[in-house]
Point group: C2
Amino acid sequence: MNRLCLPLSLNEAETLLLDDIVQRSTPIHRGGIVYEEGEPFTNLYALRSGALKGYRHCSNGNIQITDFVLPGEVFGLDGVSSGKHQCSVQALETASVCALPFDLLQQLGRTLPILQTHLMEAVSGCVQAKMEHLCLVTQYSAYERIKALILNLSKRYASLGQSALHFRLPMSRADIGCHLGMTIETVSRCLSRLREEQVITLDNREIRILKPEALRSTARPANKP
Amino acid sequence: MNRLCLPLSLNEAETLLLDDIVQRSTPIHRGGIVYEEGEPFTNLYALRSGALKGYRHCSNGNIQITDFVLPGEVFGLDGVSSGKHQCSVQALETASVCALPFDLLQQLGRTLPILQTHLMEAVSGCVQAKMEHLCLVTQYSAYERIKALILNLSKRYASLGQSALHFRLPMSRADIGCHLGMTIETVSRCLSRLREEQVITLDNREIRILKPEALRSTARPANKP
DNA sequence: CGGACGATTGACGATGATCAAAGTAAGTGG
DNA sequence: CCACTTACTTTGATCATCGTCAATCGTCCG
């Protein structure tokens, strides 16, 4: 199992143990589904390459994109508690995914306590991220939200060892809008504004960050402090 | 332990077991803190009377009210994963709280599997609620959000055996605004509109629902379906 | 080559934030 | 018990933001 798959600090023996339970899947093409809302929760997953979006049908039937998954990230934690997945996950572009059967992971967790810890941290980080996202969406303007998303992606690409300043947006404007709670037109306008202000250059989905510091939102949120 | 505290279907013997570990606290007055963000997670809590708000400091220092707690509800689940509370909880009015030491709960869970199950369901329900809330905030107009909140409170009061159509809002307009992502003025205006439309009557915080069916948002969300 | 999809841009209007003011409730101290 | 302060709420006027509608353009496919 590649270190890309789970960012754990394991020794070689431990890595081999973990390696045993990893199942590699055939590549999933654009639009392909990894799992769907309501399916029984059996695996955690790690994304090896490509990009995914997690989304959910709200009570009204609307779709809400809850998160984007980049290579090296673990996903599928929705459903640990209920035993059923609460979200669906779909490929934004051709993707390769590792499946980690959860019961085996838990078994392994008994001999490798660090695995348990990492798992817990992952769940907790996931919840925390959701709350930060809620805050972003309720308290910031569309422009600030876009800046935050770009910054977020930038940080995550950087932590994958890729360029923090030059990458390709794997998702459409519609996906961004659905994630941040705004229309595609507003997404497009905000991106154009960032381009005009020479904070970024943008060629379709190819983005280059010119002024990283301008993305760190020093601006106060829409609501009062 | 009162059945109000944990809505579990336990037999008498089991109830007695659980009763042993419950710690009742002295009443907490308006503005009092149950626990704060960052504190180590040691207890689950059940609210016996009064009302609470859960809130969080976002990365920008802003406050986001994540939820309101009504009597009979369990809270404190934030922090199960990380071991530290991710939210703070404060009393909106004089409140009485039961503390359930988590380690004892887990111990008890080994002999009472149903307790484990209920706990898991609680966590999962909590996550689900957060996602519904995200959906509400990103996709609905201020007016719809207010309707949803009233309906939500109504249902919860009903499930406590209180009137679903006549109750007192324990929180200020500012709290509502902070929870739903809008200003106090907009909150007030939406409430006034509901009054004009004779969906509710409202005397300060005393609310009476005249047309419950009008609260069930048949209206499509702000964004496209 | 043409059709479908995605993205951009403009014009317009509705929603909701902001600023301001006044009214109401609640708590405090005499 | 009342005067007074403070906090909370309501309402109005104005303005910015963002959604809607519409047209155009570019890109990716078959």
